[in-house]
Amino acid sequence: MINVQDIRDTARDLLAKGEVRAVIGWRAGTRGAAAEPCVIHAPEEAASLVWDPTCVHNLALYLVNDRKELVHAKKTADKPIAIVAKGCDARAIVVLLQEHYFKREDVHIIGVSCENSGVIDTRKAAPLLKGFAPTAIAFDGDDFAVTTAKGQQTLASREVMADRCLECRTPFPKESNSVLGEDKSGRDFAPQFAALQRFEEQDEAARWEFWQRQFDRCIRCFACRSVCPMCFCDECVVDSIEMKIAPETTAEEKANRIRWIERSAVRSENATYHMTRALHLAGRCVDCGECERVCPVNIPLRLLNTKMEREARETFGFEPGASIGGPSLVASFRDDDPGEFIR
C-alpha cells in the first residue's frame, strides 16, 4: 500500500532541490470526497497532495496542457515538469513520447503503482451507500474506506472499482523516474474485453439498435475529447472553423474548412464523431477510461475504444503505450496483416 507521505516527500524534494519546475498531482477537491488534479510549484504545497481511490483522472492530460501553455507563451522550459502517474497515466505518457509531443527529459515521472487496487466508480458505489454522498474516500488495504453522513464503511474494491481498473493488466507505471509500490502487472481481476465480447455476440441489428440510441443521446459537450490526453490536437475534425491560424494560412483555408461533421448534435453527426475519434485513437488509446467516466449522459465510450484496442492487440500484435520507440499502429504494417476481407 502506498503511503501518501512518500508522494509528498518526493514532490517536495524535487521542488526544493529545483529539479523540476512544478509537480502535477491530486489534491482534495472542494466538493465532497473527490480529489481534483492540481499543479503545485512550491515545496510547501506538496503537503496538499493526496492519493486515494478518487484519483481517477489521467494526469497526462496536464502534461499536454503544460506543453500548450508553453507554446502559447512562446517559452521553453528550463527544467522538467514532474507528474504523479498511475499505470494508465504512464502508458499515456509513453504514447505522447512516442508521438514526440514532448521529450523524455522534459518529464519527471513519479510512478505510483495501483498494486492490487484501483480507482472508485462512484456510480457503482452509490447504491451501496444508500444515496448518501461520500465525504471522504480512502484506501483501506486494497479496499475502499468510505465516509458518509452515516459513518464509515469499507467497500470491497472489486465491487466498486472502475471497470477499466478491473480489466487493467499493468497497474504499474512501466516508464518512470521513481516508483512507489509493487509491480502487480499481469493481475487478472476480470477478463479483458469481456463486455466487448458480450456486446459482439449480439446480432447486427441489435448492435445498431444499441449504438443509435447512444449516438442520439450525445450532446456533443466534447468532454470525452477534452479529457483525453491523446486528443491533443489543437484543431479537431469536428471543429467548424479553422483553429490553427498561422501567417501562411490562406483566406481560402479559413473560409473553406472541411465540414466533415456538422455542429448539430444529431445521430449522423454524433455517430461520425464518435467513430472518427475511436479510429483516431486506434493503437493510441491506453484504456484509462476517462472518456467514459466523464460522459454526462453515460455513453459507454470504452466499448468503442476497447474494440479498437482489441483489434490492435489481437489482429496486429500491437500494444499501445508499451514502448516509446516503436512505430504507430496505422503508420506501419506487417506483411501478414489480415486481408481476407478484401475481394
Binding site: 496536464y62 476517462e290 466523464v294 454526462p296
Partner: protein, 348 residues
C-alpha cells in the same frame, strides 16, 4: 396564489393521462441508461427523482433549431423558406424550482430586448409543472444563496409539493389553472390541515442547510474588481475545456448559426442554430487567428462572470439559479461556488 388544490398521489398518473389524452404532450423525468431525462409519457409519471441531468431548457431552446431552408438555382434569385417550429403543447412534469427560475432568465434573454420567434413559439406552448425540493436533491445545490428557494414558483405554471401520500398543487399562472381544469375532478380542495402541512414543509425546506455563495449580492462588484485576478487561471488549472458545465446549465443560451447543406448541385440546405459553448476554444476565435479567450482561465472567467456579473448588469438579476449541475457534473471538480467565493475573497 390563484389556485391551490390537493392531488392524491395515486391520481397523479390519471392527471397526466388526462392531459396526454387532451391537447398536451406530457413529459416527465425517466431514467434512461442511468441518466434522468425528460421523456414523453402516456401518463405514468413518477416524481421520485433527484433532478434531471439536463434542465428542461431545450423545450423552448432546443440544441438544434432550423431557421429556414434555402436553395440557389443558377441564374435565379435564392429561394428562402422559413421554418416555423411546429411546437406541440408540452406539459413538463417534475421541473425543480431552480430550473423554473432558469426559464425566467431564458425568457428574458429571448423575449426582452429581442423577440426570438423560434423560442417564443416553443415557450408559449410549454407548461412547467414544478416539484418543490423538500430536501435538496443533490449535495451540490445552492439555490438559496443566489436568491432562489427550494419552493420557488418562479417560471413555473404549477408547483407540486410532496406531502407524503398527496401533492399540494399550486397553480400560479392561467396555464397552470387550465392544466388543473383539464382534469378538475381528480383534485380536492386544499383543507386547512393541508395548508398547514404545506407551509411547514416549505419552511423546513427553506431552513435546510445548503452550500452557499458567500455574498451573492456582492458578487457582481467583486467579479468586476477581480477581473484581472490570478485566481481565474489558478482555479482553471484542472479545467479540461469541455462543455458539460454550460450545456447542462439551465440558463446558458449561447448559440452558433451554420448552414447545413442538403445538396450542392444546386446549392440547397438549411440554416440552423445550435447551442454553442463559451468553454470551447473556437467560441471567441477571430478569423485573424487571434483568440481573446485562448486560455482556460479566461474562459472560466467568462462563464462565471456571465452568471454572476454580466447578466446582472443587463437584467438586474443573477443568472445562476444554484442548480449545482456544473458543480456535480464537472469531471475535474471545478466548483462555481468555490470560484466566486475565492475571487471575492481575493479582491476583499
Amino acid at each position: 396564489m390563484s389556485m391551490e388544490k390537493i392531488l392524491d398521489k395515486a391520481r397523479l398518473n390519471d392527471w397526466a393521462a388526462a392531459l396526454a389524452q387532451g391537447d398536451w404532450q406530457v413529459h416527465a423525468p425517466a431514467l434512461e441508461d442511468g441518466v434522468w431525462t425528460y421523456k414523453p409519457v402516456a401518463g405514468d409519471v413518477d416524481l421520485d427523482y433527484p433532478n434531471t441531468k439536463q434542465p428542461p431548457k431545450d423545450f423552448a431552446f432546443p440544441q438544434r433549431e432550423i431557421f429556414f431552408a434555402f436553395e440557389h438555382i443558377k441564374g435565379q434569385a435564392p429561394k428562402l423558406v422559413e421554418t416555423k417550429p411546429q411546437a406541440p403543447q408540452c406539459a413538463v412534469f417534475g421541473v425543480r424550482p431552480c430550473d423554473g427560475r432558469g426559464a425566467v432568465r431564458m425568457d428574458r434573454v429571448f423575449g426582452e430586448n429581442v423577440n426570438d420567434p423560434y423560442y417564443q413559439a416553443r415557450r408559449e406552448n410549454t407548461a412547467y409543472i414544478g416539484l418543490a425540493c423538500n430536501s435538496a436533491p443533490a449535495p451540490s445545490c445552492f439555490c438559496k444563496s443566489v436568491g432562489g428557494s427550494p419552493v420557488s414558483t418562479d417560471g413555473l405554471d404549477i408547483l407540486l409539493t410532496d406531502l407524503g401520500d398527496r401533492y399540494a398543487v399550486q397553480a400560479v399562472t392561467p396555464t397552470g389553472e387550465a392544466l388543473i381544469g383539464a382534469a378538475d375532478k381528480l383534485f380536492a380542495k386544499m383543507a386547512a390541515a393541508d395548508k398547514k402541512q404545506l407551509d411547514k414543509t416549505h419552511a423546513e425546506a427553506l431552513a435546510a442547510p445548503q452550500r452557499a455563495v458567500k455574498d451573492a449580492a456582492g458578487a457582481p462588484a467583486a467579479l468586476k474588481a477581480g477581473f484581472e485576478s490570478p485566481v481565474w487561471e489558478e482555479m482553471a488549472k484542472p479545467c479540461i475545456g469541455c462543455g458539460i458545465c454550460t450545456f447542462l446549465c439551465p440558463t446558458c443560451h449561447c448559440f452558433d448559426i451554420n448552414d447545413e447543406m442538403t445538396s450542392m448541385s444546386p446549392p440547397k440546405g438549411v440554416r440552423v442554430r445550435t447551442w454553442d459553448n463559451c468553454q470551447f476554444p473556437d467560441f471567441t476565435m477571430h478569423t485573424s487567428g487571434h483568440n481573446p479567450r485562448e486560455t482556460l482561465g479566461t474562459r472560466l472567467r467568462q462563464r462565471v462572470s456571465h452568471k454572476f456579473r454580466y447578466f446582472h448588469e443587463n437584467f438586474g438579476m443573477l443568472q445562476c439559479t444554484g442548480c449545482g449541475r456544473c458543480v456535480s457534473e464537472c469531471p475535474v471538480g471545478i466548483d462555481i461556488v468555490a470560484v466566486v467565493n475565492k475571487v471575492a475573497e481575493h479582491v476583499a
